[in-house]
Symmetry: C3
């Protein structure tokens, strides 16, 4: 378990560098990330390079014993580039482009921008690739941040046509796949196709989904060019990128595939502001954040982000930017209290972080992030996270012990960006969101102390006893085959509402639902309805905790092979279980409340012999890692967990680690 | 009373057509509408036509005994057209145009678009005009849908200037009519005039009203070209268009005038979402839809739309698209229950529908309307409306009997698009809407079981005992003359607040209010005020139910000839009655609450000897047609109506028909 | 104390002018403003002038004994100008420009617009400059109104570069001042700099603040050209402009500096709608306006506007446009009641108005302001304000007596547009607004009957016993020096949270807070936090009324020379007092509630021997002017004030004047 920090030597007087480096070292920091926004400082004019300052900065940091991660600076080009080639600027769906003075204002499909990006990266790799102080590279910065995941400029239009041609081969196949016969949309040639008109009117959803896939792929190929150059010129150094947790606009699985491991930027007080409207029940999402969470964020939301980030490659990750004070982009940007930073770090460790770099060393005196705190204040004095850093230095041994333990989870939730995007475009129910449908299950498991991986359907599923697919909406042959193989191999799979509805090109299946998953589930959906609460169908079941009203989204099931576990008043089945070879497939034909989701999860866990921790009080997080159970109390009061028959009390805003021995003792 | 369905043969395999046609026939459907979005299928390239598929589809449907309505496909041009002539694309007030892939993205004033529209329609008329299977034609589709009622492109700017020149003759007259001396707006020539800048700032309201009139007229002349071609080439066939109920942006009276009869598209669960913010009291409009209405819509709102549609030509209408399951464009898009479709059909019949076509035959597998249900599900099995269709087959005799009965109403409400538009631009009170002011009276009458026509002031008013003009805001000589004639002929006319305020060019009258209606009303408005509740003026009156607070909009009346029926605490009159020849004119100087509107309506009805049904419970609709009283219970509970001294119980979600004989028996 | 009215002869038949003029005279009006929107009437075509009508109008008004103010008509150019030179049109940050038909649609930096503006003004000055009937001139109209304070057109981009060059001299200095090293923003030359991209993304705050300053300066130099021409050609006549109270987008101090005195446009029912969201606590701002205020506006908000307007030049002002009925641009635009206009006039007098012109003579029949009332109604009859005008004629003697009395205030609040703009761009807490932070103190003083000047830090502060700087956020050497001088001279200064945070170029100070004000305050801020209520720090203090919770914004203070007056539970100081030479500096490290602000104000006032009036009931305003205490009861009930040991009862919606003698008697 290593600690580090993000540093911007170009923003401080050279004379200060050595002071800062020494302070970092003394504070126990081992890693420092630099350079990811310094293009203008490296290449102040087209083709003119100034490396002296960077040489010096690297040397100074290295001399203090710090290991260095170099960021490629392509997220913010110099002004001479955008002025000389205005066509490198991105455009949103309204045709508006942002200009110089911010970041991510360029298009990944601009040939000019690619050329210049490659040149500056190649120059860096040539100069620093073999430098022993450089342990790894970060490509660009937060792809898609600030609503830049999709560009609608002419370069993108052209690249989209090429992408479509590669996907569909012949225009007739595209017409068939998209159903363009509808409203006279039929295309005669590729040149007639534009990006979808998402800003003004509802376009064809097949058109939209392909544009979202294309946009993600565009950043994928953009990233790949840099990855290849770095791997070639900097052998032995890792290449990574800093992801954004539950960010919705890019296929993070695809982007992660090219990297050695992934890192992500964790801002717990900002996470709920970014994502709660997609995750929490609609009423709660609009209400105030719970009291204890005002300066710690919502640990379930942050935990879900950790678990997705770990799931991107089914392996541990780094935190490239860890909040350690207030942020500058939230609603109230609350200051944090002593011990908050430590809670966040332990929380990350429990979920699989191998290293944590704080953002940032010292609060900037100028520009957009003036109000973002760091380990040091504007005036150079320690800010509130500093003391926690000291505390954790004293905990190094225990941190290392846990960091070495296994992260194996027995339960996985499936996540598909195709599903997220398809349902975002056509939620049908205003309050329906793919992430909300996943979160209700995630929260049920998390509050039961169950470790969960959030993975792609194409991941190695054989590691899991139970796999939950709360909405496997868009099906493709490989995904169906993977699920079949998993179940036949003995896995237990839960399918939820709206599964199997769409084919890969985002059109509806013509066979009874759940379409291609119908045989696996052993049921047919004979009716489905979107319902506004309190309208609903009443459940009858012997599954403990599952009874009550089903609303929001309901499906009437007709089993053919499956066994009903719950049914509706009017007779149709609501929840079924289907034995397939060595495995089992459950189909849940309703959108559950948190209590219903918990009932379903516990029923499934019982089927594979997993015992959940029950009755964890809100704000107390329990996470198992190898022989350790890590308990984190995010509240202002001591809390007690009843674990394996014993009461364990955790002090307010504190953590406690139980090991197997003590639990069994 | 006929039933039919909307069908898109081009969207299904040719092999399926005969199956579908037979199923339609077996389900008792007699009519099928086709082709209204199939331009690309008819003319896949400029001037190249492919009629074989359409010939075959018509033949297949006809062979199953179905009568066919052909839609002209001009609401969605092929991509080759918009790519070759980008100037056919419409622009909104922000200069933004939508591109290919949706519909209604073209400008009705584009000469090129008119030329191509005429050519494809002429080709269809030439080929199918004499076909005995084709009973009628639908021109285009839902003019103005999706906020396309007004375009701001250069073609429109040019056409607007021509339109203005025709209206005003000389630029001096326009300057005078609009009051351009204000803020140096004076024009020296027509070329200086642009469409009003409605997106960014408040333009001159005279400029705005004329642009709204011009925009409506533009679609009128566009429609007329098609109507003329069809009438010429398809003798004996009807020509119609599918209107959109309470749609606000076009003058539906004008558009209807050119048609043989009108049809409209009725989506009861969507109607409240579209219109309740204009109709209901502000607080209610923001609240949840009442419980029983979640899957039936608000029957008062749907009823008002029926009555306006019938009033467009003062004659019965068709439903061209009748919802029969969930829609795809609402907030929650609730699934519907058994018997809902039947309630809607009976409701339409009670209000004057002569035929009902369901939308659509089978749910589409692709494109924008995937989530819109039909009579059949995606997988081809019957959806929930199917059983109701069967039920109604058994009710055919009764349906036919009622369909033959008279629709005569004794009460009319006047509707002027000039008033709607003028008040929309200058509500003065944030919560004031022309439609809200009409709805409070409509609801009072509707919940008293009174049949109402909603008609233009230029309609034949002599049929009505009572005419309500809740706000006759923009006056013109013909309208004033028509009202005078109506009253002199013995009619009873109610004028409400803000009447007579504007002259035809949307400037204020310089004479005391109600301006040109002052003599007719026998009153002068000496003061008027917009008021935020609970600020208000207290009423004193002997009219039963009218007392209490007047707020929101109040006018102090000074009678000159009229007799006060109610006055304010401070002495001025609030409600007056003026005998004129054989008729009577009432002036109501306040914006009434629902209870006050009911009191006023009952007072007026008593004056002409009409006895309202009173105390209809919410959700129970009563509508008289000839000798029949049709009762519809939209709730989940049995309800009892006290009609003509007798209690009649209607089962939950059911209908009951009383005839005169049984009532008198 | 004079009364007058705004009149538009060009909008009425010439035959009516003499009638109107005589009526004005008979009503006791002495002044009339004309011509400020009549450019098209003066110059109907480029270079063709028509003065006859204006000659005649001036003559007619003058013959009735009226004194005339001429407005220059540059706020609304004729259409021939904008059509011939489209580049004179302004653009917003989205690149959208509004077109002819409204007003303020031009750019102050357009050379063409400046040329034409100068020509028409010069023509007017040449013709009317020496006219004895003309007593003064109004330049343009409401600079910045309708969100036109900032333009983003190419002319502005060019002018901005010139402005920057003048400010920074060398591009390196700008880079240093703005911190452009951040995100590779560094500029190599002036031509690379654009207006900030405020519409799409967050730009560099230094870039933004400079653009706001530049925009204000642009209207300043535009105004100066007209001021100079008028002063040169119309000797002895005053030159003024009509300001907009608490308008946020321009530096009204700078604009006022060039004028002989300032006037402002006072619309009390509209003032809260414009400003309450910036002034009131967040919950209250969203709630309904208090009952009594529905037709009088919020007297504290209007009072604050009066006090800022008086503070612009530290001298009395005129009301150029005084509401006298309903307005047309608000939410409900309530009608007003008898005596409302009189209350407004007395309120203005109490705050320092020397003359009041009503807006407008008669309601316009046409164009945008049809629904704006005047002294006369559309039909020419008196509207509700007319009777109040008559009442005030009878009060002329008392009005004159008070108008002659001193306006000296002993307390001032500092207002800096730099602070407002910097905090608007970076509030850090969503609910933080500079004006809200000032208002809590203003309201505390106002409701204690204390007269307050709202002035620039560069004003003559020596007149005040106490100066409050609730947030002196952006510091510069002159401001710091001015405050030091004030304190050393014996003044008592209060500094509030976030003071001293920024340097003049809107970057953060690198020294401990409050930065350049630290020595003066005798404290260092060791921690500061934005907090969402109810999270907060608990106060401990002996200052009466100050205890309780500090939330929203808290600062931990470490005194070095100062004496703690309050501290937080955790030990740090919260409120301090620092003796400096003959003066005293208080630092309040928390954002106070209204009660806490009152406690702090009373503590400070006690320190200089000022006794506040306490317990004024809401809606009762007390304002001292010379020997008079003017009491205004804005409510519907009689209210009693306890003043100097005696109860004084003021009738509902009435005023009462107490003089020193009666109070001491």
């Amino acid at each position: 378990m290593k600690f580090g920090v993000c540093y911007y030597p170009e923003q401080w007087p050279e004379a200060r560098w050595a002071v800062d480096a020494q302070m970092m070292h003394d504070a126990g920091l081992q890693i420092v990330r630099i350079a990811e926004f310094a293009w203008a400082a490296m290449e102040p004019a087209d083709g003119r390079y100034t490396w002296t300052w960077l040489d010096k900065a690297i040397q100074t940091l290295a001399e203090a014993g710090l290991q260095i991660i170099l960021g490629t600076p392509t997220a913010a080009p110099p002004v001479w580039l955008t002025r000389a080639y205005p066509d490198v600027l991105r455009q949103d769906a309204n045709g508006r482009g942002r200009s110089h003075g911010t970041r991510r204002h360029t298009c990944p499909n601009s040939p000019t921008y690619r050329r210049y990006s490659q040149r500056i990266v190649q120059m860096m790799v040539t100069r620093y690739g073999q430098d022993p102080c450089i342990i790894g590279w970060q490509v660009d910065n937060e792809f898609g941040g600030g609503k830049t995941g999709r560009c609608y400029c002419p370069h993108c239009a052209a690249a989209f046509r090429t992408w479509l041609q590669a996907r569909y081969g012949r225009i007739e196949h595209l017409n068939e796949a998209w159903g363009t016969v509808f409203w006279s949309q039929t295309y005669a040639n590729w040149a007639e196709i534009n990006p979808p008109d998402t800003a003004i009117d509802k376009p064809n959803p097949s058109h939209v989904l392909d544009y979202y896939r294309f946009s993600s792929d565009s950043l994928g190929t953009y990233q790949q060019q840099q990855v290849d150059m770095i791997h070639a010129g900097a052998p032995g150094r890792f290449v990574t990128h800093n992801f954004m947790g539950l960010f919705r606009d890019l296929n993070q699985f695809d982007l992660a595939a090219a990297l050695d491991f992934i890192t992500w930027d964790n801002y717990p007080t900002g996470n709920p502001e970014r994502w709660r409207r997609y995750l929490l029940p609609v009423g709660e999402a609009a209400g105030p954040v719970v009291d204890y969470a005002y300066d710690v964020g919502d640990p379930v939301i942050t935990g879900m982000a950790h678990d997705l980030m770990r799931g991107l490659k089914q392996r541990p990750f780094w935190i490239m930017e860890q909040q350690c004070g207030h942020i500058n982009w939230g609603h109230t940007n609350p200051g944090i209290r002593p011990r908050t930073t430590r809670l966040w770090c332990w929380h990350a460790l429990a979920h699989g972080a191998e290293a944590i770099l704080f953002f940032r060393w010292r609060a900037t005196l100028f520009a957009q992030e003036q109000y973002h705190s760091g380990l040091l204040r504007h005036d150079g004095r320690p800010d509130v996270g500093w003391a926690d850093l000291k505390t954790m230095q004293a905990e190094r041994a225990l941190l290392a012990q846990i960091a070495a333990a296994s992260l194996a989870a027995e339960v996985a939730i499936l996540w598909q960006y195709d599903d997220l995007w398809a349902l975002q475009e056509q939620p049908h129910h205003h309050d329906y969101d793919y992430m909300r449908q996943l979160f209700v299950f995630y929260q049920a498991l998390s509050s039961s102390g169950i470790s969960v991986d959030i993975v792609s359907p194409m991941a190695d599923l054989s590691r899991y006893k139970v796999v939950l697919a709360p909405t496997l909406h868009v099906t493709s042959s490989p995904v169906v085959a993977a699920l079949q193989a998993y179940v036949r191999g003995g896995g237990h799979l839960l399918l939820g509402v709206r599964s199997g509805f769409k084919q890969a090109s985002n059109v509806v299946t013509a066979v009874p639902l759940p379409g291609a998953l119908s045989d696996l589930a052993g049921v047919t959906v004979t009716d489905w309805q979107s319902l506004p609460p309190p309208a609903g169908w009443v459940l009858q079941t012997e599954v403990p905790g599952l009874s009550g009203l089903a609303t929001y989204w309901v499906e009437a099931l007709q089993p053919h092979g499956a066994r009903p576990l719950a049914s509706y008043e009017h007779g149709a089945s609501a929840f079924t279980e289907h034995g397939v070879a060595n495995g089992r497939v459950y189909y849940l034909g309703l959108y559950p409340t948190p209590a219903q989701a918990t009932a379903v999860c516990h029923y499934l866990l019982a089927g594979v012999g997993i015992t959940p921790l029950v009755n964890l009080p809100p704000g107390l997080v329990a996470r198992c890692r190898g022989p350790y159970t890590i308990l984190l109390n995010f509240t202002d009061h001591p809390l007690t967990a009843h674990i394996h028959g014993r009461d364990t009390r955790v002090a307010a805003r504190d953590i406690m680690v139980l090991d197997q021995a003590s639990l069994e003792g």
